[in-house]
């Protein structure tokens, strides 16, 4: 009762039938499809061997059988009894080539923005740093990334409370912002220094703007890297403080942190224009607010495109990093496909990671948790993972605090950027070779 058919016969048989591929049916071993003629009313038994053609025909046959009401799925689910013994059907691999295209939607370059000015440009910095310029998501193969990521380390104009693991690095310099700045550049390899004028906060020392600006001069003299100048975050006083600081740092092309929608951003923009600085455009996890502020800075305040960096807000790992990451990724993607209100380099207050209790607390406040282990190892990795995630979302500049975290973040971002060469290693037997 067995009848053999050639493949061509089957194709001929099926060509007028409305057949479709069948997902979800798996053929294992050699195909030998058996259709009981008494049950199905089909007077054929097909047996085929070998290869892809067979599988396809099997699918067609199943569909054909289904179309006449045969309980196909029972066949497909039948025990393997009619299958041939398990011998590999392939005597050799089916050689294939992999290829994938590049993204042709990314037509707009991210703005390049330079921080710092050397003597040839009217400043006193030893070198400048250029951020942005990407034509693809970070480290993607679609287009080379023109500038690497940079790290600016935080320096404060007064001693502040900080996690123990961070503080132990700065105890000797906390009273002296100049020395502090030197230390982060010389010992911790900071690309830039951020001087936070937090003592100007009316709720802290209420240091007058004029006096605070002296700290800026001090830092400019102590180090020759480009600098970032931060206020206290007080929306009434920051415009005053940053204006005065901008004046004493005239021509140094500093980054003024920050202009935001809830303070007098026009004054900060005007100070940047007048004294030759760059504006940090800060919004809170809201892409439309970021567009609005950037638009106002450009159209209303006349800030040139090469003087804007955006800070869309960094939330720590476990405390909203999902929003911060997707917000940055959306901003970068929008920029790449042509939104000229969003194609600016980005900056992250990565230091915010230290607000996470996992970074600093001695142990978990919840008795149900597994042991959190020593906190001195938890903090830096929290800062690293927070920063690294945002690097993958398109962030260019990282404001950080822990020297160990800075080192590791630089290592991974520069590896993905392509500037770290090492000896090649052979993975082919890693399973046995990993010794740990």
């Amino acid at each position: 009762m067995a009848k053999k058919m050639k493949i061509n016969d089957v194709i001929e048989l099926l060509k007028d039938a409305d057949v479709e591929a069948l997902e979800g049916v798996t053929f294992e071993g050699d195909i030998e499809l058996e259709i009981d003629e008494t049950a199905a009313g089909i007077d054929s038994l097909f047996a085929y061997t070998m290869g892809q053609e067979t599988a396809k025909i099997g699918l067609y046959l199943l569909n054909l059988a289904r179309s006449v009401g045969y309980p196909v799925d029972q066949i497909a689910g039948m025990p393997a009894q009619p299958l041939a013994p398990s011998v590999p059907k392939l005597s050799k691999l089916i050689e294939s080539k992999f290829s994938v295209g590049t993204n042709d939607e990314w037509k707009t370059q991210i703005q390049e923005v330079t921080l710092g000015a050397t003597s040839s440009d009217g400043g006193t910095r030893g070198h400048t740093i250029t951020l942005g310029g990407e034509k693809a998501l970070p480290y993607y193969f679609d287009a080379p990334m023109p500038n690497r990521n940079y790290v600016t380390i935080d320096v404060f104009d007064m001693p502040i409370g900080m996690a123990k693991a961070v503080k132990s690095n700065y105890e000797d310099v906390m009273e002296d912002p100049g020395e502090w700045a030197k230390k982060v550049v010389k010992e911790f390899n900071a690309d830039l220094v951020t001087i936070h004028l937090i003592s100007t906060d009316p709720l802290l020392n209420d240091t007058p703007a004029v006096e605070a600006s002296k700290t800026v001069e001090e830092v400019l003299q102590a180090v020759d890297v480009p600098i970032v100048i931060g206020g206290s975050g007080n929306p009434e006083k920051d415009p005053l403080v940053l204006e005065r600081a901008a004046e004493v740092a005239e021509g140094e092309r500093c980054l003024l942190a920050s202009a935001s929608l809830n303070l007098d951003y026009e004054r900060i923009a005007a100070a940047a224009n007048k004294y030759g600085h760059v504006v940090l455009s800060w919004t809170q996890l809201e892409i439309n607010a970021q567009k609005e502020l950037n638009r106002k800075l450009m159209k209303q305040c006349g800030v040139d495109r090469d003087r804007i960096i955006v800070d869309p807000t960094t939330a720590a790992l476990g405390y909203g990093l999902d929003y911060a990451y997707s917000n940055m990724e959306r901003i970068r993607l929008a920029g790449l496909i042509g939104d000229e209100e969003l194609n600016f380099p980005m900056s992250s207050g990565t230091t915010n990671a230290w607000g996470a209790r996992e970074a600093w607390m001695v142990s978990s406040p919840l008795k149900e948790d597994s042991d959190w282990g020593p906190r001195e190892y938890r903090g830096p990795i929290w800062e690293i993972v927070t920063g690294l995630t945002l690097a993958l979302g398109g962030n260019d500049l990282f404001m950080m605090m822990h020297p160990g975290a800075v080192k590791v973040l630089k290592e991974i971002t520069q590896t993905l950027f392509g500037s770290i060469k090492t000896d090649e290693i052979d993975l082919s037997n890693w399973v046995a070779e990993v010794v740990a």
């Binding site: 480290y139 709720l203 809830n262 405390y319 990724e329 995630t389």
Partner: protein, 468 residues
């Protein structure tokens, strides 16, 4: 997924609005199939014979772009892959990266059992649930089938978590399968050298199998196409995770290429889950803290960018905590609301002497504070201020948390301090200390400054409550 509107899906449904799926209408069910909060199998009628054709067609239309592979059995089974988009904001990422931690067959039994227990028992509370890790990878460092078999057996006796059997020697893998095939382990790995024997094992035992081709995507695709041909569909791709230098950069690019080919270009013959092996950090770093840190760095990179499963070694808390948190970060559904409704909530059974604590309506903040309070059995009122879903520190800086907003919260909730409390006092978060004066003036209440982190409320209460 080949469909994108509920109407397209609706055409394949019975259109009877019978409600058996739990939705009011077939259209509502259709939209839940699209966002993958329901499965087709939740519709009993469509499983009936007369809809069979539509059922199968719809199954194909709704299938994820990246194949979903299931390993393990029962409650601890894991789903790997299953993604439909390249960026999480486009929908959400499905099937969180499966995290596996290794043991080896040359470890002492004591060390092996100790590690397996730590892996199985690890938990970290987060927003109403515990974050955990998923699998145990058993590595054959002995290359001895009997030793491997014994180690695998010991692991299965110690945990219900699913296993990855790791060896490039098919005899070793076969020995491991003898004692755990019923647990549906993953075979690691088939290579261009051992593919014939490993494919036989995968077919015989119906286990998922990893194809390993370090640094060579042509060879990886060759293996994938060949395995598919043999009839193996539960495939996971390992393009090799080189731990440093230009090889690591290439590794990163390979992950991007594979996923782009699978999702954007619809290349079905390569649209499988991808796995990473951050454990290779231990091949290039001698100091254990450095090795563990770098391993976590690699794990983070490949959690963010397309790793569906990965094997690590370090089970130190400073590795596990960031690893489970970055996974939760990337795989949290961005469609879930950011905010909770503002209002005054009771935690436990507050009395007139219980404190009134202020926080924001950012969901993460709210759930963190709420769990800190309830975990320590503190009875209180928790006033949740509408800060547009922004956390405490940021909303103080951004002006969303103000004295006026705090007053409004109590007014809208009809919360009368004279009636509900004996102390006329609110507790501001430590991060909002600068609002103290304003809140006192605006509300006429006494204001106390709580700790900067709600994890410390319990300790703070001991010295600061009741107010003097």
């Amino acid at each position: 997924m080949k469909v994108n509107s509920p109407l397209q899906v609706y055409k394949y449904l019975p259109q009877t609005n019978c409600g058996e799926c739990g939705e009011a209408t077939c259209m509502a069910f259709a939209s839940h199939l699209l966002d993958r909060s329901n499965k087709i199998e939740d519709c009993p009628p469509i499983l009936d014979g007369k809809y069979k054709k539509k059922y199968l067609e719809l199954s194909e239309l709704l299938a994820s772009e990246i194949r979903e592979v299931i390993a393990g059995v029962g409650e601890t089974a894991v789903k790997i892959g299953g993604d439909d988009v390249l960026y999480r904001h486009q929908l959400t990422f499905f099937d969180p990266t499966v995290l596996a931690y290794d043991v080896s067959d040359t470890m002492s039994e004591e060390e092996l059992v100790g590690r397996v227990k730590k892996i199985s028992e690890f938990k970290k509370f987060y927003v109403g649930a515990f974050l955990k890790v998923d699998m145990v990878a058993v590595r054959s460092t002995s290359n001895d089938p009997s030793k491997f078999k014994a180690a695998v057996k010991k692991v299965t006796e110690t945990t219900t978590l699913p296993l990855i059997l790791c060896s490039f020697n098919p005899e070793v893998l076969a020995a491991g399968l003898e004692v755990c095939a019923d647990r549906k382990p993953i075979l690691y790995a088939a290579t261009k050298e051992n593919w014939q024997q490993v494919s036989e094992l995968a077919l015989e035992h119906k286990t998922p199998v990893v194809l390993f081709s370090p640094g060579d995507l042509d060879e990886l695709k060759t293996l994938a196409v060949s395995f598919k041909e043999i009839g193996i569909n539960d495939i996971i791709l390992d393009p090799g995770t080189y731990p440093r230098g230009e090889q690591l950069k290439t590794t990163f690019e390979n992950f991007l290429k594979l996923r782009r080919a699978g999702i954007k270009e619809g290349q079905k013959d390569i649209a499988y889950p991808i796995m990473a092996t951050p454990i290779t950090s231990w091949m290039v770093n001698e100091d254990p803290v450095t090795a563990s840190y770098w391993e976590t760095v690699l794990a983070s990179v490949f959690t963010v960018k397309y790793g569906d499963m990965m094997i690590m070694h370090s089970i130190e808390p400073y590795a596990l905590l960031p690893e489970v948190h970055i996974r939760s970060t990337i795989f949290t559904d961005p469609r879930t609301p950011v905010r909770v409704d503002p209002g005054v909530y009771e935690v436990g059974s507050p009395t007139k002497d219980s404190p009134v604590i202020i926080t924001t309506n950012f969901a993460l903040t709210y759930y963190t504070v709420e769990s800190d309070i309830s975990s320590n059995d503190i009875n209180c009122y928790l006033a949740t201020v509408d800060t547009d879903g922004i956390g405490v520190q940021a909303s103080v800086a951004g002006g969303q948390l103000t004295a006026a907003k705090i007053k409004e919260t109590f007014d809208n909730a009809g919360f009368d301090f004279k009636e509900k409390t004996s102390h006329n006092t609110v507790i501001l978060p430590g991060m909002a200390a600068r609002l103290q004066g304003d809140v006192e003036d605006t509300t006429g209440l006494n204001v106390k400054i709580g700790p900067p982190d709600s994890g410390r409320i319990f300790g703070w209460m001991e010295t600061n409550w009741p107010p003097k």
